[in-house]
């Protein structure tokens, strides 16, 4: 306990000294921006991709002369995908004197560090943390470039409307993610003029859903909305096909996995819709294409998921704010909340609302084509 206190005190002291220094000799020192990501642990590939993307973007800025003549220095801290390690990483970044932090991936990891950054007066832009409560705490220095969990429900409901479905069956699997998404979606049914003819949960791990499907069929829906994971989605699709019932099915991002097609068979999976953030290869736009090309040249592969690209966007908005209002964290936050409008990010236009959530949709609609590929609609 003593030791921890001592450590915290020392870190705080070092931090404040560094802080004052940056204030005093502003023009000559580089601007320090932290990247907190899971460079080790279960999500190590996500963390390494995040860091790689940000480093590429920072190098680009530096080779073009930096932000307003000052170089950007990226300080990396490893959160290990673990809240306890993340606290140390946050203290380390504070000690390094960063003005803003990009990261991190997991919601619970981000949550462990939110208050630390807020008290230290550092802007934090999370990249993969979708839990709703993170932006409901009234923290003025916290932002995120990823969507919130309730966003997915809104997008799902919108696509159900756009595809012209009127009578829907909603099926979830009682996990908190799946039930949350189902409830988020169905509370919008009245607004989009859709009638719910069936609502129930299946049991994950079950194999025979024919009794359930027979029951759903009797309710005569235009579409089945399934908010669970891909193993059950594959079984539902396959058994639906065996029943010769060709009702369309639409799901959430937990079914964005190619095992779905392999398990259901191409024929049964064809036509299945799901909403998901776009994969790195599906992101349109020049900036993203350029980044991906550089990335591939440097690391020989593509980043595996969209979350790393969102880290690039987090870095982008921070750099944009510093360019316009300097490196005072309060000013950066002010700028991001109020003045940043439709910034041309890698994943599309970026603006933030008063809570620090990104305005605008990140989710896209995908459909499985007859060869089993996921096609962006």
């Amino acid at each position: 306990m003593r030791f921890t206190l001592f450590l915290a005190f020392t870190l705080a002291l070092v931090g404040s000294i560094t802080f004052f220094c940056t204030g005093a000799e502003a023009q000559d020192n580089p601007i320090k921006i932290g990247v907190m990501g899971p460079n080790t642990g279960s999500w190590a590939s996500e963390g390494q991709d995040m860091l790689n993307v940000v480093v590429i973007l920072a190098d680009e800025i530096n080779s073009a002369g930096g932000i307003n003549g000052r170089k950007v220095e990226i300080v990396s801290a490893d959160d290990g995908g673990d809240p306890k390690t993340a606290v140390l990483a946050a203290q380390q970044l504070y000690a390094e004197g960063v003005v803003a932090v990009v990261g991190t991936y997991g919601s619970n990891v981000t949550e462990a560090t939110q208050d630390i950054y807020d008290e230290a007066g550092i802007v934090q832009v999370a990249t993969g943390s979708t839990a709703i409560r993170l932006t409901e705490k009234g923290l003025t220095l916290f932002f995120r470039t990823c969507p919130r969990d309730d966003e997915q429900g809104r997008v799902l409901a919108r696509y159900v409307k756009e595809l012209g479905f009127k009578k829907v069956a909603v099926v979830h699997d009682n996990t908190s993610y799946s039930k949350g998404l189902a409830d988020e979606t169905r509370q919008l049914f009245a607004d989009i003029g859709v009638t719910e003819v069936f609502y129930d949960a299946i049991i994950p791990g079950d194999r025979d859903f024919t009794a359930t499907l027979t029951k759903i069929k009797a309710a005569e829906p235009d579409v089945i909305i399934f908010t669970g994971y891909y193993p059950e989605a594959a079984l539902l699709l396959r058994q639906k096909k065996d029943m010769n019932w060709d009702v369309p099915m639409i799901g959430g991002d937990a079914t964005n996995n190619l095992t779905l097609v392999q398990n259901a068979g191409e024929e049964a999976a064809a036509g299945y819709y799901f909403v998901s953030p776009p994969g790195p290869g599906d992101i349109k736009g020049e900036a993203a294409a350029k980044l991906l090309a550089t990335y591939q040249q440097k690391h020989e592969v593509y980043p595996t998921s969209v979350w790393a690209i969102l880290a690039g966007d987090a870095f982008g908005v921070i750099a944009e704010a510093i360019k316009n209002v300097g490196d005072n964290p309060e000013a950066i936050a002010q700028y991001l909340h109020n003045d940043l409008k439709d910034y041309n990010g890698l994943t599309g236009p970026i603006s933030f609302n008063e809570k620090g959530d990104r305005i605008g949709e990140v989710y896209r609609l995908y459909q499985v084509d007859p060869t089993g590929a996921f096609v962006l609609k």
């Binding site: 129930d200 299946i202 194999r207 009794a211 009797a218 396959r238 058994q239 259901a264």
Partner: protein, 301 residues
């Protein structure tokens, strides 16, 4: 009415698979008074061997649908029977004269071993039988289109159960099994080789379990290394509902469990399906603690 008939057939198919697995539990229990916890894993093994034969080696493509499938059924049954026999040799026979709890612990250990062995051999990811192994045709029953595979699964299950019933009740070997189930000591005095009877039980039970695994793969497609856990639990329940140690009981219990599940899902709630099923199980056990068809001391099997 259409709805009811469809749910009835849904339930009977699921029940047929439960019944086939339940037979393995109940036969072993009848003779050895041992719950073979590794039985669910033998079911999984059957599903995976079937995958190797039908998908990796493409038996139906090589030999035609009927012969290829027949070949696979025989090979899967034989190979899983060999596995069952080895299981008995390694995990149960050395413990036959020790405490019964030791055998139960050994059974649990064998279950974990087999599950991990399957995972390491075939991988942790889900594999899937291809949908076009059997022609996707439907047959009309009471005006309801029924996929052919579902009818096949049910018919095979009934046929095998009927064959087993005849075997146990009408043949000399069957009589030896029944004798060993009633009293092993007396059976030995009558010149019955009880060790061989037990070995036989550990060949028939796993063969049926493996066959059930193959049929589950054909019926549903995706298989994974821990699928035997849920099926094992359900089939064990079926064996108990029917009266463990009783062969007809396992058949009745399996079909009843399947029907309860589909009717519970159809008329009450899908999410409560398992809750309803086990509720009924408790009620049955409260009023008939030994199951619907309890083993009679005179003829346990």
């Amino acid at each position: 009415m259409d709805f009811f008939i469809q749910q009835l057939t849904n339930g009977l198919t699921v029940g047929g698979i439960y019944a086939l697995i339940a037979l393995g539990y109940t036969m072993v229990y009848g003779v050895m008074k041992l719950i073979n916890f590794a039985h669910g894993e033998l079911f999984t093994l059957g599903a995976y061997i079937g995958f190797t034969l039908l998908v990796t080696f493409n038996f139906t493509g090589l030999f035609g649908t009927v012969i290829g499938l027949g070949f696979s059924v025989i090979l899967v049954s034989c190979l899983v029977a060999v596995a069952g026999h080895l299981l008995e040799r390694v995990a149960y026979r050395p413990l036959r004269h020790s405490d019964r709890l030791a055998a139960v612990v050994s059974a649990l250990g064998a279950s974990i071993f087999l599950q991990n062995a399957i995972m390491l051999k075939w991988g942790a990811q889900r594999l899937a039988y291809k949908p076009n192994i059997l022609p996707n045709v439907s047959v009309n029953i009471f005006g309801q289109p029924m996929p052919f595979i579902r009818i096949l699964v049910f018919l095979v299950a009934v046929f095998v159960m009927f064959g087993l019933y005849i075997f146990i009740n009408r043949t000399r070997t069957g009589m030896a099994i029944r004798a060993a189930a009633i009293d092993q000591g007396a059976a030995k005095l009558m010149g019955i080789d009880v060790s061989r009877v037990i070995a036989l039980v550990f060949i028939i039970g796993p063969a049926l379990g493996g066959l059930a695994g193959l049929m589950a793969g054909l019926l549903y497609g995706p298989i994974n290394f821990n699928m035997g856990q849920i099926y094992g639990l359900k089939a064990f329940t079926a064996a108990i509902i029917g009266g463990i140690g009783n062969i007809q009981g396992a058949m009745v219990g399996g079909l009843l469990l399947g029907l309860l599940e589909s009717m519970g899902a159809a008329y009450i709630s899908v999410a409560w399906k398992d809750g309803i099923t086990f509720m009924v199980l408790i009620v049955i056990l409260v009023f008939r603690p030994t199951g619907l068809l309890p083993e009679r001391v005179a003829e346990k099997l």
